[in-house]
């Protein structure tokens, strides 16, 4: 790959936070590093994988809005977790985590338990647990 062939196809997947480092040949035939904002084939694959997750998150959100599941259920999908992973983050057995997806049981959870979830989901405080609009499309 030559320096001028390094793709610069921006699909905003890096969100302007950084760029990829690519190795390419300059006009003297020497390898140098060039920064790239993206490449179409890669963007497509990443968007596809991302879309699959987003679909799951949207479904989870709907179940929470309909009062079938507690917000924890939504956040689990938002964080690309499953019950196994979430239970290891909050250090609770899986059956308990599953019980907490019940809105009635969720509403009675102690502050101590809620804080575990706040930590696991990377949130600031307990109020954030009730917000479902984070990380949106």
């Amino acid at each position: 790959m030559k320096v001028d062939e390094v793709p610069q196809d921006d699909a905003n997947l890096l969100e302007g936070k950084t760029r990829d480092v690519q190795y390419a040949i300059d006009e003297n035939g020497k390898y140098i590093t060039v920064k790239s904002v993206g490449w179409d084939p890669k963007n497509t694959i990443m968007q596809q994988a991302w879309e699959v997750e987003k679909k799951k998150i949207r479904q989870a959100k709907k179940l929470v809005m309909d009062g079938i599941k507690s917000p924890l259920y939504y956040h689990m999908f938002r964080c690309l977790m499953n019950v196994k992973l979430l239970s290891s983050y909050v250090k609770l057995p899986r059956y308990k985590v599953k019980r907490h997806f019940d809105p009635k049981i969720f509403s009675k959870l102690s502050a101590q338990i809620l804080d575990k979830y706040v930590y696991a989901f990377g949130l600031k405080n307990r109020d954030d647990l009730l917000k479902l609009e984070l990380h949106e499309d």
């Binding site: 890096l14 497509t44 694959i45 964080c79």
Partner: protein, 332 residues
């Protein structure tokens, strides 16, 4: 407090962290040299071992391996420590930073707050270097980021104690003893020889060039064997392994070419420079493969295109093999 640490970006976190840390101690080795000495180019196809229900294709050695090889090849003494207690792990980091020691850490990617969201997934073998603490926030040199990033105490603790597969368990490392002189030629030779061994000499069908050929013979059968949808999914997985950050593929071929170029200079073997150009062509072909495979994943696939793809992969394998054999000849 901030350590005067030069942050340079890298194509791969493991190489980048080692390269940056060594430079701090006066050993200036590029990412490409680190990559080559650690024999970072690799291929294995594991049809029987499934991840997320898909066969595993790997274009890189196991995380941490390059690291181990470098410390051994250059005779560096690295202090590596795991902590049961997260608070103690953070305290140990604080002490190190207090003493002005750049400290490497293995972390999970998902909760890295500064990472772009689409890149955040539960991968637990990312490497970063702590280089200071200001107003309660840690200053982080992450080789895939352009600038020095910041993490709060809790955010850093969370990524150091990420859960899931291969938990980092607060793993932290720093250089204890650096040799006065290093035998670079010897280290480069060792890296080259190991690469030849792994890519063309190892027996068995799944590792190295034979692994690429094996994959090629399997790809042909996918549409019939698994159906169009699953075949496309499998193919997508390969493209993902080819192109995502730090997973290797085409990018690693270019990195390896850059290494060959430097090795040619350091060892005074001009032939390696020519081989570098040949490897560059192979890298370009891998990129072409990603484009073709990506097109098939998008739809409009017939068994015919899978056949074409399989043949193309066969050519790549043959050409890549030629390069390795050329290296073997050049250095013997």
């Amino acid at each position: 407090m901030k350590i005067d640490f030069e942050h340079r970006m890298a194509a791969h976190c493991e190489n980048g962290v080692i390269s940056n840390m060594l430079r701090y101690y006066g050993i200036d080795l590029s990412e490409a040299l680190i990559f080559g000495i650690g024999s970072g180019i690799y291929f294995s196809y594991l049809p029987f071992y499934k991840l997320n229900g898909m066969p595993v294709t790997s274009f890189r050695p196991w995380p941490g391996l390059i690291f181990k090889r470098i410390t051994k090849a250059l005779d560096i003494k690295m202090h590596i420590e795991l902590f049961k207690n997260p608070e103690k792990a953070m305290k140990a980091l604080d002490d190190n930073l207090e003493n002005g020691i750049p400290t490497g850490m293995v972390v999970g990617v998902f909760h890295l707050t500064y990472f772009p969201a689409p890149y955040r997934f539960h991968f637990n073998a990312h490497n970063i270097v702590g280089i200071g603490k200001e107003n309660g926030e840690y200053l982080i040199s992450d080789p895939v980021m352009e600038k020095i990033e910041k993490l709060s105490y809790n955010d850093l603790k969370r990524v150091r104690y990420a859960m899931g597969i291969a938990k980092p368990k607060g793993k932290m490392y720093y250089m204890e003893k650096i040799p006065q002189t290093i035998d670079l030629e010897k280290a480069i030779m060792k890296g080259l020889k190991r690469t030849i061994l792994e890519m063309v000499k190892l027996p068995g069908p799944i590792i190295g060039v034979t692994g690429i050929k094996y994959l090629s013979s399997r790809i042909k059968k996918w549409p019939k064997k698994y159906g169009e949808k699953k075949a496309a999914q499998y193919l997508g997985q390969i493209v993902r392994m080819l192109e995502e950050i730090g997973t290797g593929g085409a990018g690693f071929r270019f990195l390896f070419s850059a290494f060959l170029q430097e090795a040619s200079e350091k060892l005074q073997i001009p032939a390696l420079n020519d081989l570098s150009m040949e490897m560059t062509n192979v890298g370009d072909k891998w990129r072409e493969f990603a484009v073709k495979a990506g097109r098939i994943c998008k739809g409009r696939q017939t068994s015919e295109t899978y056949n074409e793809l399989s043949e193309f992969l066969q050519t790549i394998a043959d050409e890549e093999k030629k390069v390795y054999l050329g290296i073997e000849k050049a250095i013997s």
